[in-house]
């Protein structure tokens, strides 16, 4: 089951080669190896402390691995970090929004950092259905709206790759459905997606491929037509010991 399932012969958007990360003596990732084809969606499951967030941070070039390499569209995440970051949008449970700024000011700030024209603010805010809330402070928006604004922020520069780290945290079912609806509806260009999530149902629903991380290692990989929810739950319990 742990044999690596490779994407097709097309170009790889993301290549993680033998990633190893330790914090002092605690090993967060060990020999993590995978490739994701352009346009493919990969769900990363795992219990708390499995290394999902560390993996997403390394892929986003926020954090350097202790050893191993990451290539994003053929570019080294370490050596060409700025070019890599231009191709990535990141949505996590942290929204990266400033509560004292309005929704518009938040997007305006990030679009300046990404060198994106001002008109793009209206485009992305319309995409997430917040065009009428642009002058509200981010701090007074509901958690669901903040997360939609966070998606707008991540889509500002039209990234080809979206990294999601438990974006549903703190959202109720309705807000969570809306979040994925927004992400799916915006997927006209078929973006490459990597999502770290606890939700097996949601992950399987959205992803083409899944991996399970446990104690910093990939212990299971599966491809969607061959894998149903019951099988995934069984594998998750078997490899992580968590139901």
């Amino acid at each position: 089951m742990t044999d690596q399932i490779q994407a097709g012969p097309q170009d790889f958007a993301i290549e993680a080669n033998r990633l190893y990360k330790s914090f002092n003596e605690k090993v967060a990732l060990k020999e993590v190896d995978f490739k994701v084809a352009a346009g493919e969606s990969l769900a990363v499951f795992g219990p708390n402390g499995a290394g999902k967030t560390t993996l997403i941070k390394i892929l986003a070039s926020i954090m350097n691995p202790s050893s191993g390499t990451v290539l994003i569209n053929g570019l080294s995440a370490r050596g060409e970090a700025e070019k890599v970051r231009r191709q990535i949008g990141v949505v996590t449970h942290n929204t990266f929004l400033y509560n004292n700024l309005t929704a518009f000011e938040n997007l305006d700030f990030y679009r300046r950092l990404y060198d994106v024209p001002r008109e793009r603010i209206l485009e992305v805010s319309a995409l997430v259905g917040l065009q009428n809330r642009l002058h509200d402070y981010a701090g007074i928006l509901s958690r669901g709206m903040q997360q939609r604004l966070s998606i707008a922020r991540a889509l500002l520069h039209k990234p080809g790759i979206i990294l999601l780290d438990e974006p549903e945290t703190g959202l109720d079912q309705q807000a969570s459905d809306l979040l994925w609806q927004v992400l799916k509806n915006n997927d006209k260009e078929k973006r490459t997606l990597i999502m770290a999530t606890h939700s097996l149902e949601r992950g399987l629903q959205v992803a083409d491929r899944v991996v399970i991380l446990a104690r910093g290692q990939i212990v299971f990989q599966g491809k969607k037509p061959d894998l149903d929810l019951a099988g995934l739950k069984q594998a998750y319990k078997l490899y992580t010991g968590v139901i």
Binding site: I88, N94, N100, L101, F109, L113
Partner: protein, 223 residues
């Protein structure tokens, strides 16, 4: 041009945010006024004592105010979970450093501009000379250049409010000493030529702190 546009975007964001929250300038200003008042009560208005201790009092006040202000620089980003937002943007770490440094410089200069006249009034001193303004500006640049770096370092620790002064003040002491000496000369009414050497030393420290900070910042900010 692009570098400075992004630096200014960060500074602008910080200033707008501070204007609305009034977390840094307002509180630091209250702290500065309290310290000046305490010194005033402690030393009274005895001219002889004041003329000798005023430069030290002024820079001790500014140093502690600066530490308070610098403490907030990255804590606010961290508390709002926005530091990673800056880190995933396609900008060099230098831009983050320069933007935050510029914000801290603006905040501290605002505090100093308000505190100086109050200090002058309470101690009956003339601090409105070109020399003192240049000394204040140059010293504040060095102070903030070094402090922004240590603020980024401190924010990664648990006892961040304590870590910053403990690590930062010993490093920045040369700038404070030079500022005290130069301010003392300026308050005595000495000319530019008498304080030029001190200004050159402060300027050299500014340059050293800036070069080292730009060089080291990316290692500190990345996990």
């Amino acid at each position: 041009m692009a570098f400075w546009r992004k630096v200014l975007a960060i500074t602008r964001k910080d200033i707008i945010s501070e204007f609305r929250a009034r977390e840094i300038i307002g509180l630091v200003l209250v702290f500065v006024l309290l310290v000046i008042l305490i010194f005033n009560f402690a030393f009274g208005a005895a001219n002889e004592v004041i003329s000798k201790t005023a430069p030290g009092m002024l820079w001790v006040t500014f140093a502690f105010a600066g530490v308070l202000s610098l403490n907030r620089a990255f804590i606010m980003e961290k508390e709002e979970g926005c530091l990673e937002g800056l880190m995933v943007a396609p900008i060099s770490r230098d831009i983050i450093y320069a933007g935050k440094m510029l914000s801290c410089l603006v905040f501290l200069l605002v505090v100093e501009v308000i505190a100086l006249p109050i200090f002058a009034f309470l101690f009956n001193l003339n601090v409105f000379s070109g020399e003192i303004l240049v000394i204040t500006l140059l010293s504040t640049v060095g102070f903030v250049a070094c402090g922004t770096l240590f603020s980024a370092l401190a924010v990664k620790t648990r006892a961040r409010e304590l870590v910053l002064p403990v690590l930062f003040l010993p490093i920045v002491i040369p700038v404070i000493i030079c500022a005290v000496k130069a301010t003392g000369l300026a308050m005595e009414g000495k000319s530019w030529t008498d304080i030029t050497n001190w200004l050159l030393i402060i300027g050299s420290f500014d340059l050293i702190f800036l070069v080292i900070s730009f060089w080291v910042f990316s290692f500190i900010i990345e996990e």
